[in-house]
């Protein structure tokens, strides 16, 4: 991994969930400053891929390699991956009753700086700035994390965490689902404002609509555990127009030949 311009790379990644292979050899490179989108129908393995990359114990990477900033991702546990700059915005964020949003973020910011308290010097002010960025009411700081939050509120809090933790590589797992059009715009602004110029974003989605706001440099189509097509942002519009069947048929026909 000598190319310093590549911030995230994976080669021939295979993922198993409960003994079943759901990602069947997937490769992708993200250069600094790039945004990539992976689109695909339900069950294509998109969420499994990003959960496995973040280190979820139920998603086992059985084969392949992955690197963040030149460091071997697969040698690290979930904590170390996060500290190396990897961030996963969850499709279904967990509620953690009894832990306030502010305290949770304080622990996370401190952990990211290896327990250094001085990282918390401007914590309060920064938190309030990010609340403003994502148009979240201040009272959420003292509410228990995701406990009783609506789907849209949870997604805003995910991007709030991204904004606070300033990851090098952000994996966004269907961050657009469950958002109305105003919330989509706000969350997208948050993603754009937090995306690091020297890092990368990998956005996983069903729909093209978020890509109007978070403009990808590359769009990849994932089906049956593999990337079957890659292109520029125009690919997303073609998908929107023709549906996933279009690609399914083409890929299928090629395979027939």
């Amino acid at each position: 991994m000598s190319d310093n311009n590549i911030v995230f790379a994976m080669h021939d990644i295979h993922v198993e969930v409960e003994g079943k292979e759901v990602v069947k050899g997937l490769s992708l490179e993200i250069k600094r400053g790039e945004k990539h989108a992976i689109m695909g129908p339900n069950g294509s393995g998109k969420s499994s891929l990003v959960n496995a990359l973040a280190g979820h114990p139920n998603y086992v990477i059985t084969k392949g390699e992955a690197y963040i900033n030149g460091k071997n991702l697969l040698e690290m546990d979930a904590t170390a991956r996060a500290r190396s700059g990897l961030f996963l915005a969850f499709q279904y964020p967990m509620a953690i009753p009894g832990v306030t949003v502010a305290n949770f973020l304080r622990s996370a910011v401190k952990a990211k700086h290896n327990g250094d308290d001085s990282a918390l010097k401007d914590f309060r002010k920064e938190l309030m700035d990010k609340f403003q960025l994502l148009e979240i009411d201040k009272t959420f700081a003292t509410r228990y994390l995701n406990d009783g939050f609506s789907g849209g509120e949870k997604k805003r809090i995910e991007i709030l965490q991204m904004a606070m933790l300033k990851p090098l590589v952000a994996l966004l797992d269907e961050t657009d689902s469950g958002l109305d059009i105003d919330a989509l715009r706000i969350v997208s602004n948050g993603i754009n404002a937090s995306a690091p110029s020297d890092g990368g974003v990998l956005l996983v989605t069903h729909y093209q609509r978020i890509l109007n706001y978070v403009k990808p440099d590359y769009v990849h189509v994932m089906m049956h555990g593999r990337l079957v097509r890659s292109g520029g942002s125009e690919l997303a519009f073609q998908l929107e127009e023709k549906g996933y069947d279009w690609i399914e048929n083409e890929v299928f026909q090629i395979a027939e030949v």
């Binding site: 996060a82 969850f90 964020p93 009753p97 009894g98 952990a111 990211k112 228990y144 933790l165």
Partner: protein, 433 residues
């Protein structure tokens, strides 16, 4: 280790005490006889399925019978002043002595707070009327033992309308010879008080055995907060029975926080004896190593429109065990009572064991009552969520446990929240997670 003591011994027991009033002697004698006549509880018996009764027998009966507590002398005005945090404090400077101090303000409000032993002589009318009314030999063998041999404790009396803003702190010596204590609290109509009953016995060479009884009487529209903290040394064995009886429109919040001791058996209950009376109970138990906790709670609704709510949380680690049984009894003649009970158990590893048994005796249809229990390990998805933010495994476990108990802590009086958080954090720091 059956203890058989003859009638003569009971009389001998009396003979050493030339100071106690007759009425007290009679109660002690009745209870002493009952203690000796009552068999050890059968393990199949209600409340005895989860703890061996033998362990609560005192190994030091002879010494107990031949020793009297030291009567405190003039305490107020001497020594340390009461700190700003508390309206009054009670403590044990040594094994045999109970001291109390209270602010001038409390004295002016005609509040009585003193060593219970002293109160049996100086406030005989009040004490003789209430002592043992809720807990006595009819409650069980170990309650009879306490009534017969108690040798320390506190007496608190608030006249009608007396309000104490700051809490009263009671330090309780536990373990050792002289840990048979009673707390008697009488709260007048419209009176308000917060009591922190802090069992914090030091480590002893031989395992300490303590037996505590708490009786609380709340008048009409009184507001009482009773907090029982158990943070004794690792080898203490304690047996605590607590009852509160509250009147019309009165409310009591009872909080039980336990982190210490080898075995802790607690039987706590509120009798709602007036229309619209309200009782809330909160429990937080955190056990590790081979600690055992056996908690029983009781809410007895005797009058209409009374409300009760229990939220009991248990965290267990290593080989720690816990049993929680919660009785709700609602009498037939009542209407529109509400009773809720929730018990949640977080089991940090295999090898821990928890029991949760709701006991509902509801004799009327006009009632709202729910109960629920959960039991299980920390949700792996929760841990992963925290770790995916860079938090270490151990820290993630701590955050989840703190979060598990936090909603209960948040219900406590403000000044106690940090104490309770501190106890949990200390335990978390000490425990290998």
């Amino acid at each position: 280790m059956e203890t058989i003591v003859s009638e003569n011994r009971a009389i001998n027991f009396r003979a050493i005490d030339k100071f106690e009033p007759d009425w007290l002697y009679k109660i002690r004698k009745t209870n002493w006889q009952a203690y000796n006549q009552l068999p050890l509880p059968d393990r199949a018996q209600h409340l005895w399925r989860y703890s061996k009764p033998e362990q609560f027998l005192s190994a030091n009966i002879d010494a107990l019978m031949n020793t009297l507590p030291v009567l405190p002398k003039h305490i107020n005005g001497n020594g340390r002043p009461v700190s700003d945090e508390y309206a009054a404090i009670g403590y044990n400077p040594d094994d045999k002595t109970t001291l109390t101090k209270m602010s001038e303000e409390l004295k002016q409000k005609k509040i009585i707070f003193k060593d219970l032993y002293l109160a049996t002589r100086e406030n005989e009318d009040l004490v003789s009327k209430y002592l043992g009314r809720l807990i006595n030999h009819n409650s069980g063998k170990f309650e009879a033992f306490n009534m017969a041999l108690w040798n320390g404790g506190y007496f608190l009396y608030l006249p009608d309308n007396a309000v104490i803003e700051k809490p009263i702190l009671l330090n309780r010596h536990a373990g050792g010879l002289y840990a048979i204590s009673r707390l008697l609290v009488i709260v007048g109509n419209n009176a308000q008080v917060t009591l922190i009953d802090d069992y914090s016995g030091p480590y002893r060479e031989t395992s300490g055995n303590s037996n505590g009884v708490v009786e609380i009487f709340g008048g009409e529209s009184s507001q009482i907060r009773y907090v029982n903290i158990q943070r004794q040394a690792d080898n203490c064995i304690s047996y605590i029975t607590q009852r509160a009886e509250i009147g019309k429109g009165a409310s009591i919040y009872s909080i039980f926080g336990a982190v210490g001791g080898a075995t802790t058996k607690v039987n706590a209950g509120t009798i709602l004896n007036g229309r619209g009376a309200e009782s809330r109970m909160y429990g937080i138990v955190f056990g590790n190593e081979s600690q055992h906790f056996d908690y029983h709670t009781m809410h007895h609704h005797k009058e209409s429109e009374s409300q009760s709510n229990i939220n009991f949380k248990v965290v267990l680690k290593n080989k720690a065990t816990s049993s929680y049984t919660g009785l709700i009894r609602i009498e037939k003649e009542t209407a529109n009572c509400e009773a809720y009970q929730e018990n949640r158990n977080l089991l940090l590893n295999k090898g821990t064991r928890a029991e949760s048994i709701p006991e509902l005796e509801i004799l009327t249809d006009q009632v709202r009552c729910t109960h629920g229990a959960t039991m299980g390990p920390i949700d792996q998805n929760m841990l992963f969520y925290l770790k995916s933010r860079g938090v270490s495994h151990d820290e993630a476990v701590k955050i989840v446990i703190s979060g598990f108990v936090e909603p209960t802590i948040a219900q406590m009086p403000g000044e106690l929240q940090n104490l309770m958080r501190g106890l949990i954090m200390n335990k978390l720091e000490g425990a290998q997670l």
